[in-house]
Symmetry: C2
Subunit: 360 residues, 2 copies
């Protein structure tokens, strides 16, 4: 198969971790007889430094014409980096938001998995973490408050800022269908999270999700209010299979869930459009403080590459091979610093990439 | 002193826990020579059952003319209660939102404290809970998305729902001042939480909070993005003193923080206007499943009454007396079921109230 990939290494630890993911992908290509073409693109701070803007139209066009995008991470230290002296719509993160919208990436899949080997890193009490958990958070990614009309103006002499949260039934239906489809391949439970006791958008959300549920009689649907979900993720994460929610709630809850695993450096993510196209990136941030030191954990990015093979290319065997190689390396006791524990062998970013590539 | 209190016992366990708080207040009145007048008011489901609406104008007027409101809890089981067949603006929770707005209760104070005696209940790993924590979440309570214009309508034949998030500088300034004032009596740190990398309202929030901070040179101000804060509450809650945030973020984060303590049944809350008036209620919900069984924990409501004495009546000595009585009862090993642990003595709702009243 020919895989035509756009690669956005980005800022901070992005280039280092993407390099390891490419190493693993190259090994897959060799072993399974695929051909991968990489096109490097600039986004975020790296693009600001060269083009003055975080995302150029040309970059969007090249990304669009690729089969999938592999990304590292975007952004820097907001307190010290000159990028954050720019107006908001020209900062690194604005590039990411624009790319999501331009590519129609409405479905953000963020697995939050407690790896058995890494249970010690889980910040929860042992009797809770002993139960393990493996959930998939489906976050709507191109609607809601983060993409609504916004305005700051004087009203009766008082500065006033307005953001708008809009969802229509089509936007809700397509993400709900995705969530039910994915639940069908998992433990067959969808928990839809909203604030239907207050928001109109949440009431429409709940109504449409219930309509979609009728087409999936084998899937169990429950509803949960967002404030309660923020509690349940701490109290009993094992209760969740697929969590389906809108953009802002998903932003907050998926980060909470990733921290509950205790090993963000392990967590992949995929952002999909309505066909096979997707952008794949680690869940964690750009971690500028540890960039360039060969200590960042590349596993989240490597697992994101596995998600890419699965979701954009239907290469399940190859995706499984990567995931198994990761499990094997963990089982053999290799760890980067962020997931280090007693009796394990500490390795750097490139060594971790080598170890996984060798085991593919 | 004459204390003229409106009492909203509400639904579920509300009446039981309010009864114990009154018991403790009566003991305080006796001991310190105050006179307390209670006026019982209906709100939420209890009001729907009698008046058909969750809050009448008459109730608002009586509440307004009181010195402070003591509340139990509002609402029932959304899946089974007939209250939730009503249109959204006539359900129990709508009464609470309307009361907050009518009384101008813009400042919601929610302490999240890990009680030393209850450390075992904390869902976090022991090395994290060992550090202890004691934070105050200041949530703006009458602005933002929960009070913005909302509408559901067809747009080009597609059902579309819109909620609006509005803040003006005055709304932000008054809650920020409150947060800095309270931080001044605590550990002198304010962490303001927003999503300034995306939202206009958050950028105005940050700007105004920074202006207010200039009037408080002795207070340390930091900013944190809401998704990061949802992570930090799990990873290292000890880092926080006062968290200052807008309505919806505060709803989510304060519930998460309360669960991180592991003992919601212990957590009080106060909702204040711009003078001394306030509404005081436990942080937890109405728990209809355990109502009427004399097993609910009344301590959160009793501690809410202590907050009332402190914030609405400046009766610090009396407030301290209640808080010390609670500590003493815990130290003596008495526990309701929700906070029970090995070697402790399990007591019911009324017994817990008696024990605390006796020790005042
Ligand atoms: C960088 C920011 C705009 C982004 C978001 O909130 O969507 C990030 O937090 C994420 O979750 O991918
Ligand atoms: C009942 C509901 C409207 C309310 C809110 O979200 O404000 C509740 O969750 C709270 O936090 O007091």
């Amino acid at each position: 198969m020919n895989l035509n990939l756009a690669v956005i290494s980005g800022d901070g630890i992005g280039p280092e971790v993407v390099r390891e993911a490419r190493k693993v992908l190259d090994r897959i290509a060799e072993k399974y007889g695929h051909e991968i073409h990489y096109t490097d693109l600039l986004m975020g701070g790296a693009s600001i430094d060269i083009h003055g803007v975080p995302l150029t139209d040309e970059t969007i066009e090249i990304a669009k014409s690729s089969d999938a995008v592999l990304m590292g991470s975007i952004g820097g230290n907001a307190a010290t980096s000159p990028w954050y002296k720019l107006p908001a719509d020209r900062r690194p993160e604005a590039g990411l938001l624009k790319l999501r919208k331009s590519l129609g990436l409405f479905a953000n899949l963020r697995p939050a998995i407690l790896y058995k080997e890494l249970q010690d890193a889980c910040p929860l009490r042992k009797d809770i973490s002993d139960k393990g958990f493996d959930m998939m958070i489906m976050r709507e990614l191109t609607g809601g408050l983060y993409f609504g009309a916004r305005e700051t103006k004087e009203v009766d002499g008082v500065m006033t800022a307005i953001d708008t949260l809009t969802y229509n039934e089509n936007e809700i239906r397509r993400i709900a269908k995705r969530a039910f489809d994915i639940a069908g391949k998992r433990r067959k439970k969808v928990c839809s999270v909203d604030k239907a006791n207050v928001l109109d958008s949440s009431r429409l959300w709940r109504k449409v999700v219930e309509e979609v549920a009728k087409e999936y009689p084998e899937i169990e649907l429950t509803h949960m209010l967002v404030d309660n979900c923020a509690m349940q993720l701490v109290k009993d994460p094992a209760q969740f299979d697929v969590i389906l929610t809108e953009n802002m709630f998903g932003d907050i809850l998926s980060d909470e869930a990733s921290m509950v695993t205790g090993s963000i450096g392990m967590l992949a993510s995929a952002s999909l459009n309505d066909s096979k196209f997707g952008l794949y990136e680690p869940s964690g941030g750009s971690a500028p403080d540890i960039a360039g030191q060969n200590i960042a954990n590349p596993i989240a990015t490597i697992l994101s590459a596995a998600m890419m093979l699965r979701y954009s290319f239907d290469l399940d065997k190859e995706a499984n091979a990567i995931e198994q190689a990761v499990s094997q390396v963990l089982a053999e006791g290799y760890r980067t610093g962020d997931i280090m524990s007693e009796g394990c062998r500490r390795v750097g970013t490139t060594e971790m990439g080598d170890l996984i590539a060798e085991r593919v």
